[in-house]
């Protein structure tokens, strides 16, 4: 494996330091207790500190002799489409109901790929909605209304 200055290592280490640090700061807000009777903050403080230290070690290693990994381009379109689709699903499933939410979420997800044609995306979304309704609502008796309060007049 090639060794050298590694952006991937620095990034990963940075994330570990940041999250570990956040947990350490958070733990200090809870009672730490004593080793005999540990309070709620003791264990997360310990693990958070260990993780921040590991993160720091990874950053240092990344500056000196890290794993050289080519960071491929982030598919922003896919990230945006999937985030929007899933958050939309979580937010509206109770309000719009199962069928419209599934359809729109599936349609939004298909936008993640740049190679999908509109008619085709509609067909996929319709097919998936039908399949999901049959499997989850009809087959597994999931108690989600098919059409929610927003669609009842």
């Amino acid at each position: 494996m090639e060794r050298g200055k590694s952006l991937a290592d620095i990034l990963a280490g940075g994330i570990f330091v940041a999250i570990g640090g956040a947990f350490v700061v958070g733990s200090l807000g809870y009672s730490l207790g004593t080793p005999l009777r540990m309070g709620p903050g003791y264990f997360p403080l310990l693990v958070g500190a260990v993780m921040a230290a590991l993160g720091l070690a990874i950053v240092v290693k990344g500056l000196v002799a890290g794993e050289v990994i080519t960071l491929t381009a982030v598919p922003w379109r896919a990230v945006a489409a999937i985030v929007v689709a899933v958050v939309f699903f979580g937010f509206t499933v109770r309000r719009l109901g199962f069928v419209p939410t599934s359809f729109v979420a599936a349609l939004l997800t298909t936008l993640a790929s740049s190679r999908v044609r509109p008619w085709w995306a509609l067909a996929v979304a319709a097919g998936l909605t039908l399949g999901a309704t049959l499997i989850f609502v009809v087959g597994l008796q999931l108690r989600i209304p098919l059409f929610g309060p927003w669609l009842q007049f």
């Binding site: 570990g20 491929t72 896919a78 899933v86 699903f89 979580g90 499933v93 997800t109 989850f136 008796q141």
Partner: protein
């Protein structure tokens, strides 16, 4: 014979109509996700877990287990036919298996994989039945100090086996443990890191973590470069191996079964290690090492037997200690808990029908897999024609519905986005997702036993070293850590795993 009585009980449970049916559904789904690249057994089990809440516990576990070992079968089919291993353990099968397919011998390669897997599965299931009860007896003597050391050992061994940087794997474990602390503290009831959100009081649901890390993150990676998958599949004919083939596969199957059974017990993807080790062994003992990589049937028989044997024996730590050896096993722990059963040494005595039924179902599942895979091979090949733009919206939609149906809580759904993005970035940076999920599941156990052990010992931290079993476990853990970090051994590890790329 107690073993025979137990197996009789197991088979009478496993042969109930609904259990055979769901075993079939499990192995069918498992084969399907094994064949399809881009979705693995972990994401599938995570998505289907909520569905099984209404089932009888034994039926639920039989189905989930079926998905796990079914995926090992399916993964090898695509590895042989189109050089696209659906599962990481099948990567090594592709080396010689696909070469055989290109020489027009796809049939014998597939048959060898099936025969080897079936034989290994049968033997390993038997080993599981024989080895589990005495191990569970030992585990019953464990106190909190021993459990703490055992969990720590499990986590550390899992990094020794993971590929890539040991430092990063350790940090991923810590990250998992930290996310596992979110929610109410077990001893004082103080809500930790909940940002005053009621829905976080019970903690982050591990299904969200698993679906995010293994489903969403994987899809984002696949969408990085969308290339048309040209599935040029050679026609499969002459399934049955020739007399010469049959003679050549006997010894590799036996060796692979032995190796796989032993390595499968290790935490953290023992089945991947098993197939690589088996390949290396076969190449070394072969009189014709130059044939390896050019379509040697031994290179299919050994690793395929090894990974299937390992898939079965990886249930040993789960069923006797309650320790998951693989992310799918971690999800099975969740399945046990949802049904009110604490996985661990008590399961065998408290729920004998469940314990033996699950073991017996694995053998039935292996029979079903052979029947499913050999005659229906054409159907699985057809599945490869499903275009990815249909597949990934399906995975995302089902993931969202599955996590929502856990508690009808929108936050569980938002969590898959969070863990999907975090996982995607970290995987891009060369971190493995599996240690994080293991840390997430085992973290609460680690904390609970640490605190309990210290309360019992009145704050004396030396308790972990003065109790003999605990001391031995900690020593092994330290040794494993040294091995994982030591440069010379790490170099060899890299060599073993680079063949995977």
């Amino acid at each position: 014979m107690e073993l025979l009585d137990n197996l009789a009980l197991g088979f009478s449970t496993a042969f109930l109509v609904q259990n055979v049916l769901y075993c079939f559904v499990g192995v069918l789904l498992g084969t399907a996700v094994g064949v399809l690249p881009g979705i693995g057994p972990t994401a599938t089990v995570a998505m289907l877990l909520p569905i099984t809440f209404n089932f009888e516990p034994v039926t639920a576990l039989i189905m989930l287990a079926g998905i796990y070992y079914g995926a090992q079968y399916g993964g090898s089919t695509t590895a042989i036919l189109i050089n696209l291993p659906g599962e990481s353990s099948a990567a090594v099968t592709a080396l010689d298996g696909h070469e055989m397919a290109r020489q027009g011998r796809a049939g014998p390669a597939l048959a060898t994989a099936a025969i080897g897997s079936f034989f290994a599965g049968t033997v390993a299931t038997l080993i599981l039945a024989v080895a589990a009860p005495p191990l569970a007896d030992v585990a019953l003597k464990f106190g909190p100090a021993e459990y703490f050391s055992l969990v720590l050992l499990g986590l550390i061994v899992s990094i020794a086996l993971a590929r890539g940087s040991a430092l990063k794997a350790l940090a991923m474990i810590a990250l998992g443990i930290l996310f596992g602390t979110v929610g109410q503290d077990i001893y004082t009831g103080t809500p930790r890191f909940t940002f005053d959100q009621r829905s976080l009081y019970s903690g982050i649901d591990f299904v969200s973590v698993a679906v995010g890390l293994f489903g969403v993150a994987e899809i984002l990676r696949n969408l990085e470069n969308e290339s048309t998958r040209a599935a040029v599949v050679s026609k499969v004919r002459d399934l049955w191996p020739t007399r010469e083939d049959r003679r050549r596969i006997v010894a590799p199957i036996l060796r692979g079964t032995g190796l796989g059974s032993a390595l499968g017990v290790l935490p953290g993807g023992g089945h991947v290690l098993a197939s690589f080790t088996s390949y290396a062994v076969e190449k070394r003992v072969s009189k014709r090492p130059q044939e390896f990589g050019r379509g040697a049937i031994e290179g299919v028989a050994g690793p395929e037997s090894a990974n299937n044997a390992a898939a079965q024996t990886s249930f040993i730590p789960l069923l006797t200690l309650g320790l998951p050896a693989h992310p799918v096993m971690a999800l099975m722990v969740g399945a046990f808990i949802v049904h009110g059963i604490t996985p661990g040494p008590n399961v065998i005595n408290d729920e004998p029908a469940l314990f033996w039924g699950l073991i017996a179902s694995m053998w039935i599942g292996n029979v079903l897999l052979v029947l499913l895979n050999l005659p229906l091979i054409g159907m699985w090949v057809q599945m490869l024609r499903i275009p990815y733009p249909v597949l990934f919206p399906m995975i995302i939609l089902f993931a969202a519905i599955g996590t929502y149906s856990l508690n009808f809580n929108a936050w569980d759904v938002y969590a898959i986005v969070f863990f999907g993005l975090l996982g995607y970035i970290l995987i891009k940076c060369g971190c493995e997702p599996a240690p994080m999920l293991l840390g997430f599941v085992l973290g609460p156990l680690l904390e609970e036993n640490l605190r309990r052990a210290l309360i019992i010992s009145r704050g004396d931290a030396t308790v972990f070293l003065t109790r003999p079993i605990s001391a031995v476990l900690l020593t092994v853990a330290v040794a494993a850590l040294v091995i994982a970090v030591l440069p010379t051994i790490r170099k060899r590890r890299e060599e073993v795993f680079t063949e995977d790329e």
